[in-house]
Symmetry: C2
């Protein structure tokens, strides 16, 4: 966390000084906005939190609810989401209040006494170290609270506009604010009144029954529900010994439970199998009472009993897997000639079972993907064509999610006798761990993702996948630093320069590259606006192969220690050395001849290049920079 360089900060440094549209931000929704976000779920709030960091952009987020969400349905937080929260500054706090999944237990019918269940196996969560972040369970409402806090503390002082429901939308072909959105006021003195807001861009984050989606003519395709589950958040007295451990429980009669312990040490969620639903009886299953769900849970848990003492929430749902054909308003035959004005995210695009704990996570990554792109286009950094990459990238991810969830929920619904091997479910869980942890996403080559030409120079930083952090030592203060954790959600591109073996300052590939970055007219840094800090758009860091004691800070090239802020103070936090306990060059398979790793604002590796490949580096960024 860097502060005090614009003057002494007495209070919470997380509260940034108000700036731009955050100074005297109008309480009322204005008539014209840059971005209108519809819906304040996880995707909408992340998009808003990202855009809130840009003082020049007017973003508003409307929500039909009149207040903060009290209790949400989603609760699974994969490690990739915690990594994302880290970038937004609240990972350590949400982790402190969340339930932490470290093992999963698998219960099966006892072969010697099949009416009873016994523990069949345990699987360690993330046994292979996919991420340094934990796998958490915490209610969606708290996730939204934290994003609301990020927005409130941002330069733009954003907060959601509650009590406004999306009604309809018209997209014009021209004008500064081509999208006209009609909203209906909910509650308050003007309940039911309509008003129109004009926007440059609209992001629909309005859930499975998205009206924004309907407005742009997307179609949802997929199977229909046929397996019903009762879900309940309860506290109970029980002798089931793994009640505080995530469990898949399969009983002899084919019923099953997915047990998810919740934050706070007492509450837990159970997904209780209600069986196959006949096409003509769908209404009936939805009438299943909480008492029936509890009775069914008790039957499955035999010989253990569950004495439910308090019910926080319950529902009945049927598994459905549906996916939209596109994530924006550009019809297939216009791709490449038209750029989008309207985007949809999260449940508006993809619906599926809740039991793999994926929905909220994938939705947030939709938001992380679109947020910075909108900001770069609106600020004039990048051309509008950048926006077309959103649908192209995220539709594939959603498709993979649907496929994964189908397999997982089919397995979960299987009867014990249908398994070829009693540990089939457990094996699937362990084998596929990278997917539900959120790290299987691999974007294919595009204007923001290079190809794999030089991948061998950095085998641990796969182009198209998220930048997997590793430990380093910061030279200036000798602190052990997880390199990736220093990258916050500030919308900047990162250029990590992993040095060749020469010491800092001596003639070398790093020295030449640094000189080019600082001074060449083709350097991406050359487009940084006059008056802005030299690292305002591109955060350039160097990591030397030497231990920190052997790096002479004064000899480090200037591009890695820029002057920042009104006092032109050195930014000391861009020069790293290897950690003696964990050499990042070894950990990530980095070439000892050095390598440049370009990382997107949403933390995905965009390119891997040799130190000398300045032409390729310039060529990669040229289409992304409007000034080129």
């Amino acid at each position: 966390m860097q502060f005090h360089h614009h003057g002494y900060v007495s209070g919470d440094p997380r509260v940034q000084p108000a700036a731009g549209v955050g100074i005297d931000r109008p309480e009322e929704l204005p008539n014209e906005v840059d971005v209108l976000i519809v819906g304040s779920g996880p995707a909408g709030m992340l998009t808003a939190a990202q855009l809130s960091q840009f003082p020049g952009i007017t973003t508003r987020i409307v929500e039909r609810r009149e207040n903060r969400l009290e209790i949400g349905q989603a609760d699974g937080i994969q490690a990739r989401s915690v990594e994302t929260f880290q970038a937004f500054g609240f990972a350590e706090r949400i982790t402190a209040e969340a339930y932490w999944i470290t093992e999963m237990a698998f219960w099966r019918p006892d072969t010697e006494n099949p009416t009873n269940i016994i523990r069949g196996g345990r699987a360690v969560d993330d046994a292979t170290g996919i991420s340094e972040f934990p796998h958490l369970i915490v209610n969606q409402a708290r996730v939204l609270d934290y994003f609301a806090e990020v927005m409130a503390n941002s330069p733009t002082r954003m907060s959601p506009d509650y009590g406004l429901e999306f009604h309809s939308m018209v997209v014009a072909n021209d004008g500064d604010y081509p999208v006209a959105v009609t909203l209906t006021q909910v509650g308050g003195p003007n309940d039911g009144q309509e008003r129109t807001v004009k926007a440059k861009y609209v992001v629909g984050c309005d859930g499975a029954r998205s009206k924004v989606r309907a407005s742009i003519g997307c179609t949802m395709a997929g199977d229909q529900a046929n397996h019903a589950w009762g879900v309940m958040d309860v506290v109970a007295k029980t002798d089931f010994p793994d009640i505080r451990t995530k469990c898949a429980i399969q009983s002899n009669d084919g019923g099953s439970i997915l047990l998810i312990p919740r934050e706070g040490g007492h509450l837990f969620r159970m997904y209780v199998d209600l069986g196959v639903v006949a096409e003509d009886s769908k209404g009936a299953i939805r009438k299943t009472t909480i008492e029936q769900i509890i009775a069914k849970a008790n039957a499955i848990l035999t010989p253990y009993t569950l004495d439910v003492r308090n019910v926080a929430w319950h529902s009945v749902y049927e598994v459905g897997h549906r996916l939209t054909d596109r994530f924006d308003d550009v019809l297939p035959d216009s791709i490449g000639t038209t750029t989008p004005r309207v985007f949809i995210t999260g449940d508006a695009c993809h619906t599926h079972s809740a039991k793999a704990g994926q929905g909220m996570n994938v939705s947030m990554q939709d938001g992380f993907n679109i947020g910075w792109k909108l900001a770069h286009v609106l600020e004039g950094r990048s051309p509008e064509s950048l926006l077309s990459t959103y649908s192209a990238e995220r539709q594939v991810v959603a498709k993979n999610l649907i496929d994964f969830d189908k397999e997982w929920s089919t397995l979960m619904a299987k009867k014990p006798e249908e398994f070829e091997d009693p540990s089939e479910l457990e094996d699937f869980y362990v084998r596929t761990a990278e997917f539900p942890a959120g790290f299987m996403t691999e974007y294919t080559p595009s204007m923001i993702t290079g190809d794999a030409t030089h991948q061998d120079l950095a085998t641990g930083f796969t182009v198209g996948k998220r930048f997997k952090s590793a430990m380093t030592r910061r030279v200036c203060d000798t602190n052990p630093i997880h390199l990736g954790h220093h990258a916050t959600a500030d919308g900047r591109w990162r250029i990590y320069v992993f040095a060749d073996a020469a010491p800092a300052g001596s003639p070398s590939g790093v020295t030449d590259l640094a000189e080019w970055l600082s001074n060449a007219p083709e350097s991406p840094l050359a487009v940084t606006p006059e008056g802005a800090d030299v690292d305002a758009w591109f955060d350039v860091k160097v990591i030397y192969q030497q231990p920190h004691q052997d790096v002479d800070f004064n000899a480090v090239p200037a591009v890695f220690k820029p002057d920042v802020g009104p006092f032109a103070l050195t930014n000391y936090e861009k020069v790293y050395a290897t950690d003696p306990k964990s050499d990042i060059f070894e950990e990530r398979g980095l070439s000892r001849d050095g390598v440049v790793v370009v990382v997107r604002p949403d933390q995905y590796v965009a390119n891997v290049l040799p130190l000398a490949a300045t032409d390729e580096l310039a060529a990669f960024f040229a289409p992304l920079l409007s000034a080129r």
Copy 2:
């Protein structure tokens, strides 16, 4: 963090439900209070934050400043303080915004060119793993902010009463509220008006010129200042390469600097040697300007230069070491026959140089020591004699601090040629690391500290020293847990039962002890009030020698899994197993025959006993429990 067991918590679980005196807490200071704390510095705020956890106790804290502290002088946060913050729930947040000391550098005159300084050595901070907590630098104002938040979120909804200055005090011999304190209003419409508040107890946390101390007739004794230092918090442009590392810098002309990098990546503090002050010139040295301090710093730093761009704060001070004769209002000849009504803490008791970074830390431990004792007496748990242990324990600690600081500041003021060995300063720093980290405090036997009779059963938990946490596995959810971190500042005694080798539930020393704790009339738990949770006063935990997979939770004795809250739900978080990577029995030298470790509410080890020593356990607690 445990919650949801009194009903679903939708918002921030750190905000506890208002209870007792926190329901309709009066905005105005009432005429009668249980505890009146004078002064809202670190000692006062910690005492207040501790007392705020007790819904039945009316505590108010008065402060002559009219508002929150904007910029404080203290900034050194030793690991023991971070451990304390952990107990109050904000360690992870203050750590995220603080500067982290991982190494210290020692600069000396270059023997080949003595007008220049060179780096003579580096010392790793806490090289021996004294604590799992970091050594931080963050401004005192932020520490106070976090304690204010703890108070605001507590059941009593406390906040400081600003704009009230202590004027005078009369202590009567009888009555429910024997201490009458006259306060003067500062600022506002009633500026200068006096009012009287009656209190059961008064805690003076009003600094080096404490009026509370004067009121109870304590005398401060010690040497007078004779070495002057300029101190400045600044941002600067410099080529001194270690500007972001803590440094002791000694120049050839005898001048020296202690450099403390500050939070935020840019600000730093320098203590600049201004030399020996003649007795008759004290007024003059205090007139040293910031320009003169900067010029002196530049001279010492040669060949490097310091271009100060902004000054946040600066001052001139002279080192003085003074200590009060007692920490309460009981005169020496009344000890044992009279119990105290008035206590003093922090700078009111001990003043010394700032350069060892100790003052704020020792002051907070004063507060941590007195807070729970006042609460236990006021709640009727413990007899008033408990309060006499405060002065007895803390006066010794302050004496040790003064001695340490004298040695350190004398070394810091030495000229290079006076050192026998050039690394003398560095060696002292490394050799004495446990002291400034805050872990040398070792209380001697008293009514709350047992003797060392059974110390060999737990060589890593020294009786009288703070409970040094170690890793365990929580059985219910398989989470790796730092055992000591589960102990929050809730005023409870902890009884850690480290099991013998028998499995949970089988006949064993643990089973017998558990039975005794639950059912024996002599068990300390037997005094827990009717209607309160069975673990309300005593938090009893068990740690088995087996890995968590081999602990049958259902077989664990009842005392380790009490029913809590209105739904009588099992508290699952008291049953632990050994961590496969770090066996706490090995790490802390625990007997494989089992051992009981009793820990005070302020985290100090009170007793170490064999599992079978129920008589000794009962005898230890009997004098501490008014109901006995």
